[in-house]
């Protein structure tokens, strides 16, 4: 069942962030959310994840769907190792697999404070992929990656999207080109 976003609006302290937005998301594939900063991309991901309720309108088709998320911030447990951070979400086996695929397995015993920004980002992505699910929400997941690394990792996202919906927030045109569909969120309301 497709995910329908119907006339949703969301404001924070009287400031409209999303206004009367409607569109449909496919069941599988990569869908891109584009738009300048402050246009409501992150808010929309949070609404899809069910972390917030819209002020009006509704989102349907998410019932019984398992949702995974790479937040805009890494949100890693500071006292746990990279491996533990991933394993706590997706189990030891999946953690091992995804840390290896995302080329971060050599740092699996390290705590986040000893990792670079890009490495933390990969641990966060590994956690989301290890958790799996029907919908994967990615909020600028490739921040801090070098071009070659990104080239090696993107195929895994594409592979994942064959059985799930990947909603990708990005400012990068080459990343947006991966998407089967996209929507541009404007700041003008």
């Amino acid at each position: 069942m497709a995910i329908k976003i119907e006339n949703i609006s969301k404001s924070y302290e009287g400031k409209k962030v999303i206004y009367n937005l409607s569109f449909e998301l496919p069941e599988k594939g990569i869908f891109c959310l584009l738009g300048e900063s402050g246009s409501g991309k992150t808010t929309l991901l949070r609404l899809i994840a069910g972390l917030e309720e819209p002020d009006s309108g509704k989102i349907t088709g998410l019932e019984d769907k398992k949702i995974s998320f790479v937040f805009q911030e890494d949100r890693l447990l500071p006292g746990s190792t990279a491996f533990e951070n991933v394993a706590l979400a997706g189990g030891a086996e999946a953690a091992k697999l995804w840390l290896e695929r995302l080329e971060i397995d050599q740092a699996e015993a390290q705590k986040p404070c000893t990792l670079s920004g890009g490495m933390c980002r990969r641990v966060a992505l590994a956690r989301a992929l290890a958790f799996g699910g029907d919908v994967l929400l990615l909020d600028e997941p490739f921040k801090g990656y070098d071009i070659e690394l990104k080239k090696r990792i993107i195929p895994y996202i594409v592979e994942f999207s064959q059985n799930a919906l990947v909603v990708l927030v990005t400012h990068n045109e080459s990343e947006a080109a991966l998407a089967g569909g996209s929507i541009y969120l404007s700041k003008d309301r």
């Binding site: 972390l51 995974s68 937040f71 949100r75 447990l77 706590l88």
Partner: protein, 254 residues
């Protein structure tokens, strides 16, 4: 060069506290010379000698141990209850609204009021335990509740998305957040428990207690005894605090 600097630093860490101690002992001795009355102010030497004499007797150790056990009992009960209440009120705001006034009242009430009340309610031995407990409870409670409230909201949201079990949520998110608040609370509370516990002993006079000895030294105008027992109290307090810091350090590193 590096070796010399290290050796210098090491000798400084040993010499500095020694110099500070000698300075204050000197001030004490000088005050003794000025006062010229053992009844009002015994000298450090007289105090040390009396303490040494007391330490030769079995009663000294028995009384010190009895006081220590009472205070540790009150402290432990306060820590356990404070943690349970802190967790509950940190998680449930409504409960906090009910519990806060009671615990804040305990915090603000003079300890003497509670001691007098406890003298009516409890046995001689129970009073210091209860008073130590009352001193510790609000400190541990407020620190634990604060640690829970200040847990990173972003991490809590993350655990919701990734379906963390209650056990992992407690161990991996709440515990690291609460730990520094709890450890700081424990060190502060121990000092309060010790001082208030001895004060409670002075008023409740349990048979074997430091408090009773302090009271007797007042009655019989044995100022040297008062100083000797006070030195014993301070020493025990320092040992207990060091032991606690050591134990908490073990928890911290885990």
């Amino acid at each position: 060069m590096n070796f010399i600097m290290k050796a210098e630093r090491k000798s400084l860490t040993v010499l500095r506290p020694l110099a500070v101690t000698l300075f204050w002992l000197g001030v004490w001795q000088l005050a003794f010379f000025l006062v010229k009355s053992e009844l009002l102010l015994p000298s450090p030497g007289q105090t040390a000698l009396r303490l040494f004499e007391l330490m030769q007797t079995g009663g000294f150790w028995l009384k010190s141990l009895s006081s220590l056990l009472r205070i540790v009992k009150g402290f432990s009960l306060g820590v356990i209850t404070g943690v349970v209440l802190g967790v509950l009120t940190g998680r449930f705001r409504l409960l906090r609204a009910f519990v806060s006034p009671a615990l804040n009242t305990i915090k603000a009430t003079p300890v003497a009021s509670f001691i007098i009340l406890a003298l009516i309610w409890l046995t001689k031995d129970g009073v210091p335990v209860f008073i130590s407990f009352l001193m510790v409870l609000p400190i541990i409670w407020s620190n634990v509740a604060q640690g829970i409230e200040e847990t990173d909201k972003n991490l809590l949201e993350m655990t919701r998305v990734f379906n963390f079990s209650r056990k992992n949520l407690a161990l991996k998110v709440y515990l690291p957040s609460v730990r520094p608040y709890f450890l700081a609370g424990c060190t502060t509370a121990l000092g309060f428990a010790w001082k208030a516990g001895i004060a409670a002993e002075i008023l409740s006079l349990p048979l074997k207690s430091i408090g009773k000895e302090l009271y007797n030294s007042k009655i019989y105008l044995e100022t040297t005894d008062l100083f000797a027992w006070s030195v014993a109290v301070i020493t025990l307090s320092i040992i207990l605090e060091k032991l606690l810091v050591f134990l908490l350090g073990k928890i911290k590193s885990k």
